[in-house]
């Protein structure tokens, strides 16, 4: 139903796509994988009419189309669901679904018709946790995703593009998304699924298209490949075993909490040792990020003992040698319009320590930023490179404890491996590392010890190499354990 042939695109004379072919049939889930910067997003934006293509043809149902505007793509039945949703938080679900094309009756917006139509679509998707009149700001990320999908359905979309749909979802919400994708499939809708997470690709897709450096590598039936094959195709090399080897020696205790608590956390007993990576698992809302912020001093503990100090502010945390690589790089980690250098030096400058501009280059090489261009504004960097800048920022103050909150979310496979290596390297240099991750294979692959949180408390601690099932059952609080 959709055929893209020989698609090429350049931005400002830089070629980002060339000769990419893609064919999709109704009711198919077609995964598109590739490193960040490979050109996946550009390809999808061409399909959605955001960018015009320079070369090649697009055919839908055998008819040649060319979209100059997203609305034209929408009319042709293409809907795209971005990582960041385009919903109005203060409006209801049905108002969002019908935004800009509200049914009119006697000169007024026909709310009843809107609500009825929205409720019908929600029911078809098997969604009963919220109704059409709910305000969008009261919905969870997963529910907002449902709204986006309902919107696509109400537009009679036949091709739905999902850009990293699970990036912001917790583990248990991913299941719901799977169900939604399958419902779309049953309706004969073709789903183009972009994801970094190979597990999802294998769980959902019928075909996989691999793109590397703006070129088509191959399109294969998912059942014919293994995840090692895909990784090799994406990065053009083997990433042996994915994760660096675990630590061999655990050093002295760098940070210890006993009975730590505040309004989100209770009875936290935790010890972080030099040379060790401690993984933190838990469902969304279990208090993982809150734990990191409490240890760091951004949302301090109000109860309990902590050594070397119980920080009451970020500055006290930093002075005690704690650094926090935040969950959301863009809103909490970086000043996006400032240069790589200014971001790297932000912490030293804030703490009033001598900021050596000369040391920046060395630092960027250490975090493997490529190319290590100090003048570049960080917003132009890929997710992986941005994360490396955040790391560089903390390395300037030689932290004793580094807390990572979802360090590889939205980061491509190559950069992910680099960040994992760096974390291990830092641990070997005697830094105590805590890592929060929703991605269980990563958590299990990296951690020397896994602490599972549930409802603001420590539900249990698991040894290195525990199974995903063991972690999940602790996190979800199943009775069997």
């Amino acid at each position: 139903m959709l055929t893209m042939t020989g698609i090429g695109k350049s931005f400002f004379g830089v070629r980002v796509l060339s000769g990419v072919d893609l064919a999709v049939v109704p009711g198919e889930v077609h995964a598109i994988v590739g490193e960040n910067g490979a050109g996946k997003s550009t390809l999808m934006k061409i399909l959605a009419g955001v960018h015009a293509h320079d070369e090649g043809t697009i055919e839908i149902d055998g008819r040649r189309v060319s979209f100059g505007h997203p609305l034209e793509a929408q009319r042709a039945g293409v809907a795209i669901i971005y990582q960041e949703f385009n919903l109005l938080p203060e409006r209801t679900v049905s108002e969002n679904v019908f935004l800009g094309r509200e049914p009119i009756r006697r000169g007024l917006v026909d709310r009843t018709a809107m609500d009825t139509a929205t409720a019908r679509l929600l029911a078809e998707l098997g969604e009963d946790s919220f109704g059409p009149r709910q305000l969008v700001k009261r919905l969870s990320v997963a529910q907002q995703q449902v709204v986006e999908i309902v919107k696509a359905l109400s537009l009679d979309a036949r091709i739905v593009v999902m850009d990293e749909p699970t990036a912001a979802l917790a583990e248990h919400e991913v299941e719901l998304l799977y169900r939604l994708v399958r419902r779309l499939q049953e309706r004969g809708i073709a789903v183009l699924y972009i994801s970094h997470r190979l597990r999802e690709v294998f769980d959902l897709s019928d075909h996989v298209t691999v793109i590397k450096d703006g070129r088509l590598v191959t399109t294969v039936a998912t059942e014919d490949v293994t995840s090692e094959d895909l990784v090799r195709l994406m990065v053009g090399r083997d990433l042996n075993g994915y994760f660096p080897p675990r630590s061999t020696s655990v050093g002295e205790t760098r940070l210890q909490v006993t009975g730590g608590g505040n309004d989100r956390l209770h009875d936290i007993d935790l010890k972080l040792n030099a040379g060790e990576i401690v993984g933190i698992a838990g469902l969304q809302g279990s208090g993982r990020s809150e734990l990191a912020k409490a240890l760091f001093g951004a949302e301090p503990f109000t109860r309990g003992e902590m050594t070397p100090v119980r920080p009451r502010s970020v500055r006290e945390g930093i002075r005690a040698g704690v650094g926090l690589v935040t969950e959301d790089r863009k809103s909490e980690g970086l000043a996006l319009r400032q240069s790589v250098r200014d971001n790297a030096l932000l912490v030293t400058r804030a703490m009033g320590r001598g900021a050596r501009r000369s040391g920046v280059r060395e630092l960027l090489e250490r975090v493997r930023l490529t190319p290590p261009r100090e003048e570049q504004e960080v917003r132009y960097l890929s997710g992986g490179n941005q994360q490396k800048v955040v790391l560089a920022k903390w390395m300037t103050v030689a932290p004793k404890v580094l807390l990572f909150d979802e360090p590889t979310r939205g980061v491509d496979v190559g950069a992910k491996a680099a960040i994992h290596d760096l974390m291990r390297e830092l641990a070997e240099d005697g830094v105590a590392i805590m890592m929060i991750s929703s991605e269980l294979p990563e958590l299990i692959g990296m951690s020397d010890r896994i602490v599972v949180l549930r409802e603001g408390r420590i539900a249990g601690t698991l040894p290195a190499g525990s199974s995903e099932e063991a972690v999940m059952s602790l996190a979800a609080g199943e009775v069997s354990s």
Binding site: K45, A298, V314, S331, L336, A350, A355, Q376, S382
Partner: protein, 313 residues
């Protein structure tokens, strides 16, 4: 520096246009007298820049300039001996007003637009009450020297400009811009957001005091001396390519913006355009500058790293 280039180019064109109509402008005396005339606005723009780049506004500087001048005239009242103590007092007054603006904005969390608008009204009212509409007293000769004698005015300007540039290169300046760009990320990096903003507002107040001292000598004592200056300063900063909302633009460009605005006024004057049109021109410049910033030409700062283009969105 790279980002200051467009405004420097515009400035050069305007200066050349002035020189064509008025060759005297090319002589040192002619040019320096232009610089002297522009000095108060350039100094105000430097102060306003600090506040704008951190994501705030300071609308109170125009009234503050008036207050400075009126207070100076009343306290000095022609007494030469009073000059230096009063000068010190004026600086402290500017500092204090800026500090109050900063404290209300950061600690009471009143948006700076409202805080400084309120301060503008409070100061205007206070001047009116205190003078009854007609300022009394007179400035001393020594006081007037700063605004009148080209050497002193230019020297003051150079000192302020150099200080501003150095300040922006120091830890204070870099963290100030980071706050304007992403306050939360700055705070989570250990930046003392409240303190840094407070200092920015205070320095804006001080810049208004210095501008007032120059203007008192240059323009004389009246209750209208600072009228509209806050908007001129904001226009100048925006003209320099500094983005409202913060995080972007350099202090050099902001000061160049002030010189450009002054050059534009001079040019209009030379061509015999009515002085009444000054506000209209300023309004057009303000809107045009923001519009030009909004449709920033992508190739000027497009990423050159292959494959990273998608990260822009």
């Amino acid at each position: 520096m790279k980002r200051a280039l467009p405004i420097l180019a515009v400035l050069a064109v305007l200066l050349a246009a002035i020189a064509i109509v008025n060759p005297f402008f090319l002589e040192p005396a002619g040019f320096l007298s232009f610089v002297r005339r522009a000095a108060p606005l350039v100094i105000l723009a430097a102060g306003q820049y600090l506040v704008i780049v951190s994501g705030e506004f300071d609308l109170s500087v125009g009234s503050l300039v008036t207050v400075e001048v009126v207070v100076a005239a009343r306290l000095i009242d022609g007494d030469e001996a009073a000059t230096w103590p009063v000068l010190a007092l004026l600086i402290v007054l500017g500092l204090f007003v800026g500090l109050v603006n900063g404290a209300v904005t950061t600690l009471l969390r009143v948006p700076s637009f409202i805080t400084t608008l309120g301060m503008m009204l409070v100061l205007s009212g206070a001047v009116f009450l205190w003078t009854g509409g007609a300022p009394r007293g007179a400035l001393s000769q020594a006081f007037r020297m700063f605004g009148r004698q080209t050497g002193w005015a230019v020297l003051t300007l150079v000192v302020v400009a150099v200080a501003a540039v150095l300040l922006m290169r120091a830890n204070f300046g870099r963290t100030l811009i980071a706050i304007g760009d992403n306050e939360r990320a700055a705070a989570l990096s250990g930046v003392r957001v409240t303190r840094v903003r407070l200092i920015a507002f205070t320095l804006s107040g001080v810049s208004a005091a210095v501008a007032g001292i120059l203007l008192g000598g240059f323009a004389g004592v009246s209750a209208q001396v600072g009228q509209g200056l806050e908007f001129q300063a904001i226009t100048a900063v925006v003209l320099g390519g500094v983005v409202l909302g913060g995080g972007r633009g350099t202090v050099i460009a902001a000061m160049a913006g002030a010189l450009t605005l002054e050059a534009l006024f001079t040019l209009l004057n030379l061509y015999g355009v009515s002085g009444a049109l000054k506000f209209t021109v300023q309004g057009v410049v303000l809107i045009a500058a923001v519009a030009a910033g909004a449709i920033r030409l992508p190739f000027l700062d497009a990423p050159k790293v292959k494959g990273d283009a998608h990260a822009v969105s």
